[in-house]
């Protein structure tokens, strides 16, 4: 029988025992500080090496990536511009729909009249006349003299008609005269336009007490407009002792510069009193 306790066997056994002890210490966590102390520089070195490698790789491969990124960027920008144009289109549709809903609401709340909605397609060429052009004409039943309103109030009346378009004289036109009454003061008067589009209130008796902010409604006198349509508010009044009547300036309830849609009252026939005027 061979001798087990030879010097070689004893050396191997000691080595095995040391390795097992080290493993046991490592598993039990006693060697963690040593590992940390040893591995930390290695990790730092590895990290530095990896970063440099990635930087060098990016340096050599970036032109290809830039090209693809630019292509992608252009594609996305194209999509964004398409979406923006869609948003603008939808906003315009929404704005138009809101105007039409408001006009429809006005028509429902004033059922005594019949209305035809029209879009404003142009304005008068000369700055001395206050007219608008609408896209409804005799083919849609529009006739000369029909009153034109919005949900806010009186706009004017139809002045000329062709098959599919009409010209509307605004109440701010210099040749426009509308008979009105003041809602609070129970006084009759007239509003007259001007070449610059400002509206003045005239023919108010000297003894009438008119307050700033008083509401003006059509009186129906003269037969050109139906009664009780909102026209505007009194901005200021001037009274001079040597004059028969007071006069003042009026703020129209309708913003004529931004008119985009109007309603034409189709069941009202204007009365032409010209032959009766002396």
């Amino acid at each position: 029988m061979r001798n087990l306790f030879t010097s070689g066997n004893i050396r191997n056994f000691i080595i095995l025992l040391v390795v097992a002890g080290i493993l046991l210490l490592a598993v039990s966590g006693y060697l963690t500080p040593i590992f940390s102390l040893t591995l930390s520089p290695l990790i730092s070195t590895q990290s530095w090496l990896s970063q440099r490698y990635l930087a060098i790789r990016d340096f050599f491969t970036s032109p290809r990536d830039m090209a693809s990124l630019r292509e992608r960027n252009a594609q996305l920008e194209n999509e964004v511009s398409q979406l923006q144009s869609q948003i603008v289109e939808l906003q315009e549709n929404l704005s138009q729909a809101q105007i039409l809903y408001t006009l429809l609401d006005f028509a429902r709340t004033n059922p005594q009249h019949e209305y035809t909605a029209a879009t404003v397609i142009g304005r008068e060429i000369s700055p001395y006349y206050q007219y608008i052009i609408i896209d409804k004409g005799s083919n849609q039943g529009i006739m000369h003299g029909m009153p034109v309103v919005t949900q806010q109030g009186l706009v004017g009346r139809v002045d000329a008609v062709i098959a599919n378009a009409s010209r509307v004289q605004l109440i701010s036109d210099a040749e426009s005269v509308v008979n009105v009454h003041l809602q609070n003061a129970k006084v009759e008067g007239q509003i007259v336009g001007s070449i610059t589009g400002e509206i003045t209130l005239e023919m108010i008796p000297q003894d009438a007490e008119v307050q700033i902010g008083d509401v003006l409604l059509t009186s129906g006198l003269g037969g050109n407009y139906p009664p009780n349509i909102f026209v505007g508010q009194v901005l200021s009044m001037q009274s001079q002792q040597n004059r028969l009547f007071q006069s003042g300036s009026v703020q129209s309830i309708v913003d004529f510069s931004s008119l985009s849609a109007v309603l034409i009252i189709t069941n009202f026939e204007a009365v032409d009193i010209t032959p009766l005027v002396p």
Binding site: I125, S126, P127, Y128, D159, A160, Q169, A174, I195
Partner: protein, 167 residues
């Protein structure tokens, strides 16, 4: 024939631009008059014998659309046309100067006749207000648009009606 057709198309486009855009772009109470500008530029570049008939037709078309009196527009447009014919012989080497002269005096003539027409119709108006609120801003806007309109019309009608060449 092509000249008359192009002129009519250009004139209709000018009316549409005026009604749709330039009449809404108000400075104080004045607006640019692209129709007048087009007419002035076109008159300076046309070489046809019967162009005055087109001017009369243009005037009638504008008066049908506008609330302006027919006679007023015909007087203004024919005066500008005749003045352009005169300027062609006098200042034919500097059409831009002729254009500026036509637009400046044409705008004054047009607005003067508008004021006169309203005065005759019995509209109460202030001459000073008309001058400061409408006439001067309109002249300014017209002068600003003179160069682009002239350049555009010149390009369009250069081939249709070649300018005179110096012998």
């Amino acid at each position: 024939m092509l000249f008359y057709f192009s002129s009519s198309i250009g004139f209709i486009i000018a009316i549409m631009l005026q009604m749709g855009i330039f009449s809404r772009a108000v400075l104080l109470a004045g607006t640019a008059d692209v129709v007048l500008l087009f007419l002035a530029a076109w008159s300076l570049h046309q070489r046809q014998k019967y162009s005055w008939i087109l001017v009369v037709i243009f005037g009638l078309i504008v008066s049908a659309i506008s609330a302006s009196p027919v006679l007023l527009l015909l007087i203004v447009y024919l005066t500008i046309f005749l003045a352009a014919m005169r300027l062609q012989t006098g200042f034919w080497q500097s059409p831009l100067l002729s254009m500026f002269l036509l637009v400046f005096f044409g705008t004054f003539l047009e607005h003067g006749l508008y004021i006169l027409g309203l005065f005759v119709q019995g509209v109460s108006l202030s001459i000073g207000e008309s001058f400061s609120q409408i006439l001067l801003p309109s002249v300014l806007l017209n002068m600003l648009l003179t160069i682009p309109v002239h350049a555009l019309v010149q390009e369009i009608f250069r081939n249709l009606a070649p300018m005179r060449t110096e012998i």
